[in-house]
């Protein structure tokens, strides 16, 4: 079972983190995340199927996917890869930037794999940066400066 935590170091966007250890070498785990013939077998878990899974695994490449729930509902998902660094790093985000009503509303997902010999450590960071959140973060500057009681910053806050 994995734990889900909020990354306490980030203040201008919400990042949730999950980790897990797999009993398999890193190359195998990488294959499972980047080849449709493997992904369609496990994605969604027991009872789910994946009638469509096409992956063009390179920066700018598209991952087109349809996940089918046990009751037969289809969820179309489409992602674009932002970073691909075999076998340790894979970053993707929805092509519609999380505006879709279907499927989980994540923004950017980063998967990193760590070589632990016969095992692999999998870490996933899912970032949620809402448009209004980003705007606010820009106008406020970095939130941690608020607690420094900076004169200049207080002046800025008064003008907002």
């Amino acid at each position: 079972m994995s734990r889900i935590t909020i990354d306490a170091d980030k203040v201008d966007e919400a990042v949730i983190i999950m980790t897990r250890m797999f009993d398999a070498p890193i190359e195998k785990v990488w294959e499972c995340f980047t080849r449709p013939e493997h992904v369609r077998i496990w994605f969604g878990g027991a009872g789910f199927s994946n009638p469509v899974c096409e992956m063009d695994v390179r920066p700018g490449g598209i991952w087109k996917h349809v996940m089918r729930t046990p009751d037969g509902t289809d969820y179309p998902l489409e992602y674009v890869y932002l970073e691909v660094k075999k076998p340790t790093r894979l970053v993707w985000q929805p092509t519609n930037h999380g505006k879709s009503k279907d499927g989980p509303p994540t923004n950017r997902t980063e998967v990193t794999l760590e070589d632990h010999g016969v095992q692999t450590k999998w870490t996933m960071k899912a970032t949620f940066a809402s448009m209004e959140g980003r705007e606010l973060a820009k106008r406020m500057g970095y939130t941690h400066t608020l607690s420094q009681g900076c004169e200049k910053f207080n002046e800025l806050v008064k003008t907002l």
């Binding site: 909020i6 203040v11 797999f22 499972c32 496990w42 509303p105 949620f128 009681g149 907002l160």
Partner: protein, 118 residues
């Protein structure tokens, strides 16, 4: 929960000061002054945080915000908590399947430096 509502709630929760404010409000309503007390920051700065929390509908304030206390609204927190749980369950399920699959999956071809022809 609509995608952007969830994002703005998570953004609101991302900041430790705002989490602290919510924790305080969980024990009862409080004025801006009371909320600012534990922090080394101006009332204006705390007000900025409260605006974020208000935008995410995590707190409500009276019309005369200076006099009426801030109040914690549980519903968005509940919704986010449920969504996080759903998200975790999705990945747990998927990764459980992956773990089983890895046991039976044939080894990938030996990594010889070899460019695939396109």
């Amino acid at each position: 929960m609509p995608a952007d509502r969830l994002s703005s709630t998570l953004f609101a929760l991302a900041d430790p000061t705002r989490r602290g404010i919510l924790a305080r409000l969980a024990t009862g309503d409080a004025t801006v002054k009371e909320l600012a007390e534990p922090y080394d920051m101006s009332l204006a700065a705390v007000s900025k945080h409260l605006k974020v929390l208000e935008a995410a509908k995590l707190i409500s304030r009276g019309r005369e915000a200076q006099w009426r206390p801030c109040h914690l609204e549980a519903e968005p927190l509940q919704a986010v908590s449920e969504w996080l749980e759903e998200y975790r369950r999705f990945w747990d399920r998927s990764l459980d399947s992956l773990a089983s699959y890895l046991k039976t999956m044939p080894d990938p071809p030996k990594a010889k430096r070899r460019r695939s022809k396109r």
